[in-house]
């Protein structure tokens, strides 16, 4: 019998339209969304706003310039762990758009292997659009943005093989990586590529820090879009992150003090 989950017999016949147990999450989500929208659309909060220097993002130009000078390709890959729903993949697409525009301008070959057909399709659109916007649609080669394998180490072997054969001058490892991270980063190191990495996978960050030239840590990857484009509406959401951090820090301090004074209290747990 085929599987049609829409036919699921819903055993829970009762249930409230609003589940009160999710109230703390709901309030936190509304506050967070409110802060993002406020910083984005409130004109005053967008004034006089600059980001600190992020070495990994400043090095993007250097990496593209190097590939152009050496007449060798750029290799960009988003890792095996993500799919298109993941914000990290979208953040990576933003950087890809910028890299593709520069690659188009300098006529530098950009190779993008991926493990996910949807990511491949989106990346093709993003890169194509960048080439068109730069005025070089003829330089775009769809085959350079390719699906290689959905299997983790099939993907790792395919990308490793491309790095070894193409010997790219610069490698961008930006997205969600798992155990393949060190295999790719070390192979890139062996061929002498300049490497810029960034991931939301904390365990793989340590591998990237050891093996790559520049590593974007944590939220730096998400700030990249605004940092590279200078778009104030996107930069404003970075300010929202800082405001939310302040809220979280305040809650942590209150929670720690409260729990220290009255260890039996539970109101701060959710």
């Amino acid at each position: 019998m085929p599987f049609y989950p829409v036919q699921l017999v819903l055993l829970n016949t009762g249930g409230a339209w609003f589940d009160l147990s999710t109230l703390p999450v709901f309030i936190a989500a509304l506050i967070a969304i409110g802060i993002v929208l406020f910083t984005t659309y409130h004109k005053k909060s967008r004034e006089r706003f600059t980001l600190r220097k992020i070495a990994g993002l400043d090095a993007v130009e250097e990496a593209i310039g190097r590939a152009t000078e050496m007449a060798r390709p750029l290799l960009y890959t988003p890792g095996w762990g993500g799919d298109i729903q993941r914000p990290t993949t979208i953040a990576s697409m933003n950087i890809l758009s910028h890299v593709a525009a520069r690659a188009a301008r300098y006529d530098c070959q950009l190779v993008y292997p991926t493990h996910d057909p949807v990511i491949m399709s989106v990346a093709q659109e993003v890169v194509r659009e960048s080439y068109v916007q730069e005025g070089y649609p003829d330089r775009f080669n769809e085959d350079n943005i390719r699906y290689v394998s959905s299997s983790q180490f099939g993907y790792a072997a395919a990308v490793e093989g491309q790095i070894t054969r193409l010997k790219p001058a610069s490698i961008f490892l930006l997205g969600t990586f798992e155990a393949e991270s060190l295999i790719l980063a070390e192979t890139g190191n062996f061929v002498g590529a300049i490497q810029i990495a960034g991931t939301d996978s904390t365990i793989q960050l340590s591998f990237f820090i050891v093996a790559c030239d520049y590593t974007l840590i944590g939220e730096e990857l998400f700030a990249a879009s605004g940092y590279l484009s200078g778009d104030q509406s996107i930069l404003a959401s970075v300010r929202a992150q800082d405001l939310m951090k302040l809220v979280i820090m305040a809650l942590l301090i209150i929670g720690v003090i409260w729990a220290s004074i009255n260890p039996d209290s539970t109101w701060w747990r959710f």
Binding site: P5, V9, L11, F190, S201
Partner: protein
């Protein structure tokens, strides 16, 4: 012939060290950690006849590390007369999971369908986890061998996670996170894990917060578990190879530092 570089010598050295250690087959024994004891106690203290779901959330590549972990947990669960429901949420875990359950089931004289079942693979793991929270039967109308869900005596009365004492995710990547976030947080099922060593630190925060009930990790975790169930396996046998490999890496770090400081002194920086 191309001259070997320093990294090639590093590779050759590691290969020889691990090979010799594997040939020696010395049982070193290990000190059992509190994390391992926690998982052991959890299975040990469940009433016999409880239903545990074992999810094989790994690829074929990590089998040398995952296999001893899975075997140790399965042996303990069967020895305690627990009933096991196997599933695979990554395609490559399917055949492996079935073989492991069948092997250990035979060792303990267990009958398929009465003491254990293997439901097979379901793509889109998040969807599968959510779907099982509503109805396992609808998610897996047939088991891996093509028998209908209703024809398996062990599954009579098993509707969803409410009838499952706990889920043990045997993983080499981030799938355990999804078990915690979707099955654990949304349906309240108790989630434990047996994971590859590289993933241990990823799950530490979940373990500390109690979202992950118990966890064992890597070959060392398997060796500790084998010690607890008094049944030696490839975990304990592999500890010599792991120990010598770790010592080799430490040696490489020390040599790397000696080379670095000598170079610095030569350049007059020290």
């Amino acid at each position: 012939m191309k001259r070997l570089e320093s990294r090639h010598w590093v590779f050759i050295g590691l290969f020889l060290v691990v090979l010799l250690s594997m040939l020696l087959q010395v049982d070193l024994g290990v000190e059992v950690s509190s994390d391992t004891t926690r998982l052991f106690d959890y299975i040990e203290n469940l009433p016999p006849g409880s239903t545990i779901m074992i999810s094989f959330d790994h690829e074929a590549s990590s089998l040398p590390e995952i296999r001893p972990l899975a075997l140790a947990v399965l042996r303990h669960a069967f020895a305690r007369n627990q009933r096991l429901v196997g599933v695979a949420l990554l395609a490559e875990g399917t055949g492996i999971g079935y073989r492991l359950m069948e092997q250990v089931g035979k060792e303990y004289g267990k009958v398929y369908g009465e003491d254990y079942v293997f439901l097979g693979f379901k793509p889109q793991y998040i969807a599968a986890m959510l779907s099982m929270g509503e109805s396992i039967r609808q998610t897996f109308p047939e088991d891996y061998l093509g028998r209908s869900y209703d024809s398996l005596p062990m599954l009579q009365g098993v509707r969803n996670y409410d009838q499952i004492a706990g889920v043990i995710s045997i993983a080499d990547g981030s799938l355990t996170t999804h078990w915690i976030e979707y099955a654990g947080n949304q349906y309240g099922v108790r989630v434990s894990a047996a994971v590859a060593a590289a993933m241990v630190t990823t799950y530490d925060p979940y373990l500390a917060s109690g979202q992950l009930h118990a966890m064992i990790g890597g070959l060392r975790g398997a060796a500790e578990y084998e010690q607890l169930i008094h049944q030696g396996g490839s975990g304990l046998r592999g500890m010599l190879a792991q120990t010598t490999a770790h010592m080799y890496v430490i040696l490489m770090i020390l040599i790397g530092n000696v080379v670095y400081f000598r170079g610095r002194r030569k350049r007059g920086e020290g």
